[in-house]
């Protein structure tokens, strides 16, 4: 009897503990789906895209990666918009704009645009959106940090004044999404500007709005019926973003037709995808240059001759063919050739081992050992470093390769003393502003901050960039940019290794997709996709 009682008690305790363990987990409160038990993917007008990580936030002010941006840029629109496939801008929520000088931007808003909550777009909404973006330190802050004031000059006109000259500020405007102030104020909590609510909800003017999600599994966006751009019959109704954490699984899902597009590099699996008749593989030149920075404040790279020698030692064609299977361009300097402001007179990088050896002799540096620090998870950086290692061995330099987490790399590059001799950076353009692209990597104001990891401080370069930013005259700007680009090439501020092409694959049932060179790749404007007949 006693034995049976002890056994019963043991069973009860075990069951209680198991249920306690399981009860600690509960389902997230999620938006209700309209049809709970119908799989949306069965609909013909549903576009499915696979993403590796659930966006942390749909808030337009808190965007970090490509995944965050695709959702947020779909729901929230800016005053000016990037033309797909280019770095050019077009009026969007603003039907026109004026730039009287490099500190003043005046936007005349488009009439008849509504937010998803039914309220109208007006100057007050734009002012609110900018003030909201400026209120917090977040990844988008850098785009608005130079704003001095944002004013509603009248009901449909907004004037933005900057603290200092920046003729490229319009490119930043293209990244700031406009949000409904009415909706934000209704859902605000403790003065948080509705940041908490915006994490998983949306109310912009965009063609699609967040309609549902299951944490870490998927989120959906449904078309906004009153979208100001109007609708055609052959456009998408629903976008389903599936969180697929494994790259191999994503490739399988694209091949099987379960998803229509991926957001991962596919260079290694091109043959599989190209063999599938239902998939179009698209290739475009990118706005990215992969570089190894030279710590110009640390030996031996404080010596220009050594930097020049390393630049001539690198096997650029080898990187293009072996690392990127030919889907890349050898760069001419740091600025990718796809930028319209690229100086076409600068020749492509070329290997010349004999000259490299000569320069090493002249430098007096002798045989030396340097290290290059790479970011974890970047196989292409490892391969490039291995090629460089073999090249440098021929000119008397021993290269040590070290891989580390991204944040550790950022941390050690805060100072030239802690930074290694070389660090790897895959620099892609976030905005179409070529001045900012050069400035962020080599202007002395960014020395010790992302991303001037060369600690390059050259007053001539700074002057050229500052003047390019201050002028609204395109010809003058081009001249200053050409000067700046030539300085970077002559001074070998970094090793400009390769500009990889953007390669993306999409289900060919959908037309109208263009590879966009900005926004950290894989950017999609769903509104522009149409379903083929």
């Amino acid at each position: 009897m006693k034995k049976n009682f002890r056994r019963m008690l043991a069973v009860c305790i075990i069951l209680a503990m198991i249920f306690a363990l399981s009860a600690c987990g509960k389902s997230e409160d999620k938006k209700e789906e309209t049809d709970k038990n119908v799989s949306i993917s069965e609909e013909d007008k549903t576009f499915s895209v696979a993403l590796g990580v659930m966006p942390a936030d749909f808030d337009p002010t808190n965007l970090v990666g490509a995944g965050d941006m695709n959702a947020s840029r779909t729901c929230y629109e800016p005053l000016v918009e990037e033309i797909r496939g280019t770095t050019e801008l077009q009026p969007w929520l603003a039907e026109s704009y004026e730039v009287p000088n490099a500190k003043t931007y005046i936007f005349k808003l488009r009439e008849g645009v509504k937010f998803a909550d039914g309220t109208d777009l007006n100057a007050e909404a734009v002012v609110y959106s900018y003030e909201r973006t400026m209120a917090f330190v977040n990844p988008v802050s850098t785009l608005v940090q130079e704003i001095e004031s944002v004013e509603a000059t009248d009901d449909m006109t907004v004037t933005i004044k900057l603290k200092s000259d920046n003729s490229g500020f319009l490119y930043n405007v293209a990244k700031v999404g406009i949000i409904s102030p009415t909706w934000c104020k209704e859902n605000e909590k403790d003065g948080d500007w509705a940041q908490d609510y915006c994490t998983r909800n949306s109310c912009g003017t965009g063609a699609y709005q967040i309609s549902g999600y299951e944490e870490d599994q998927y989120y959906t966006m449904e078309k906004f019926e009153d979208y100001w751009g109007g609708w055609k019959d052959n456009q998408i109704d629903t976008i389903q973003t599936l969180i697929v954490k494994d790259n191999a699984t994503q490739i399988q899902m694209l091949n099987s037709g379960e998803v229509d597009k991926l957001q991962i590099p596919i260079t290694e699996n091109l043959d599989i995808l190209e063999a599938n008749e239902k998939i179009d593989v698209l290739t475009e030149q990118s706005l990215q240059t992969n570089i190894f920075t030279f710590n110009t404040q640390k030996a031996p790279f404080d010596n220009l001759l050594v930097r020049q020698a390393v630049t001539l030692a690198m096997d650029y064609e080898g990187v293009k063919d072996n690392v990127y299977n030919g889907k890349a361009t050898v760069p001419s300097g740091f600025m990718p050739a796809k930028f319209t402001d690229h100086d076409n007179s600068i020749p492509q990088q070329e290997q010349n081992l004999e000259k490299a050896k000569e320069l090493m002799k002249q430098s007096g540096a002798g045989e030396c050992t340097v290290s290059v620090h790479l970011c974890e998870g970047s196989d292409d950086q490892v391969q490039m470093a291995q090629i460089l290692q073999a090249n440098l061995a021929e000119i008397g330099i021993t290269l040590e390769i070290k891989v580390m987490p991204w944040l550790s790399l950022v941390e050690e590059n805060a100072s030239p003393d802690t930074a290694p001799e070389m660090s790897a950076l895959n620099m892609g353009a976030f905005t179409g502003d070529s001045v900012f692209f050069l400035k962020q990597n080599f202007h002395s104001m960014y020395s010790g901050q992302p991303y001037n990891w060369s600690f390059y401080e050259n007053p001539d370069f700074d002057e050229a960039i500052d003047k390019a930013a201050a002028t609204v005259d395109e010809a003058e700007k081009q001249e200053y940019l050409n000067t700046a680009q030539k300085i970077l090439v002559d001074n070998c501020a970094a090793l400009y290794i390769i500009s990889p092409d953007s390669v993306e694959a999409i289900n060919n049932k959908y037309q109208g997709f263009k590879i966009h060179p900005l926004d950290y790749y894989y950017s999609i404007r769903f509104y522009q996709l149409t379903i083929a007949e």
């Binding site: 075990i14 363990l21 330190v137 850098t142 699984t249 944040l407 901050q449």
Partner: protein, 335 residues
Amino acid sequence: MAKFLAKRFLSLIFVVIGITLIVFFATHCLPADPARAAAGPSASKEQVEEKRAELGLDKPVYEQYISYMKGLLHFDMGKSYKSKQPVTKEISTRLAATMELTISSLVIFFILALLLGSIAALKRNKLVDHMIRFFSVASMAVPPYWLALILQYVFYFKASLMPAGYRLPVGVAGPDTITGFYLLDSALQGNWELFFLSGKHLVLPVLSLVIGYCGITTRMMRTQLLQELRQDYIRTARSKGLLERPVILRHAMKNAISPILTMLGMQAGGMIGGTVLIEKIFSWPGLGSYALESILSMDLLVIAGITMVMAIIFILINLIVDISYILIDPRVRLS
């Protein structure tokens, strides 16, 4: 037993304090700046410092720890730097998914290991014994994540028999929460369509874990049972005229299982940690893959929270194992 349980729960509190202390100070020693991670890669130094102050990371580490422990008393593990959501909420939404995967795998692999190990022992040196031993060795040699990729490729991509991953098909909402286990909750609510869908989505991830982990337990079960079958009391039972089935089931198996239970407790811990890659491959929205993302983004409070939760679960599972000895062996007194 009450004294035993009280002692174990008391020791749990000290273990939690110890773990939080180690994890908290260890994560603060990492050569990466969580304020930088939260502010974004392009933030200026001033913005990073502003973020640091906002998150309280500018205070001395011991002050941050005291504040963290005060929050823990109210089950508040702070807020994720990345998503700005309460860590408790982030963990609880994912814990059920991991527990469902882990517990299903544990139960199935345990039953399978007992069955196969027993058959191998009883049919010693016959063909079935050799086959089971071969399977056990193969199972120990094959990493579960590799198996997961193969199973997915064969059953999803080639045969289109199974889904690629997730807990349910996209767009299908889970059952109302009772335990958080979709399989159990849908059965309790009588929603058999959901039950079969949940089960179907569990097949491949559970199979990867079961096959990957049951090899060693199968071998151990075989060895233990063979040892028990050689004991004098078994000879006595047979000579008293007992049928073979009660000799094995009622006598030999019970004594053979005790060390297997101990192993189960240890493997449970390994399995909880080992689900990281399985969750990644099958896009299973669990704690393992979330832990990996948090480590990569230096979300310190999430890392601390998950480590603590996993440690508590491991301790509780071993406590369950200890209590279950009573069921198996009446001689055991928990003291």
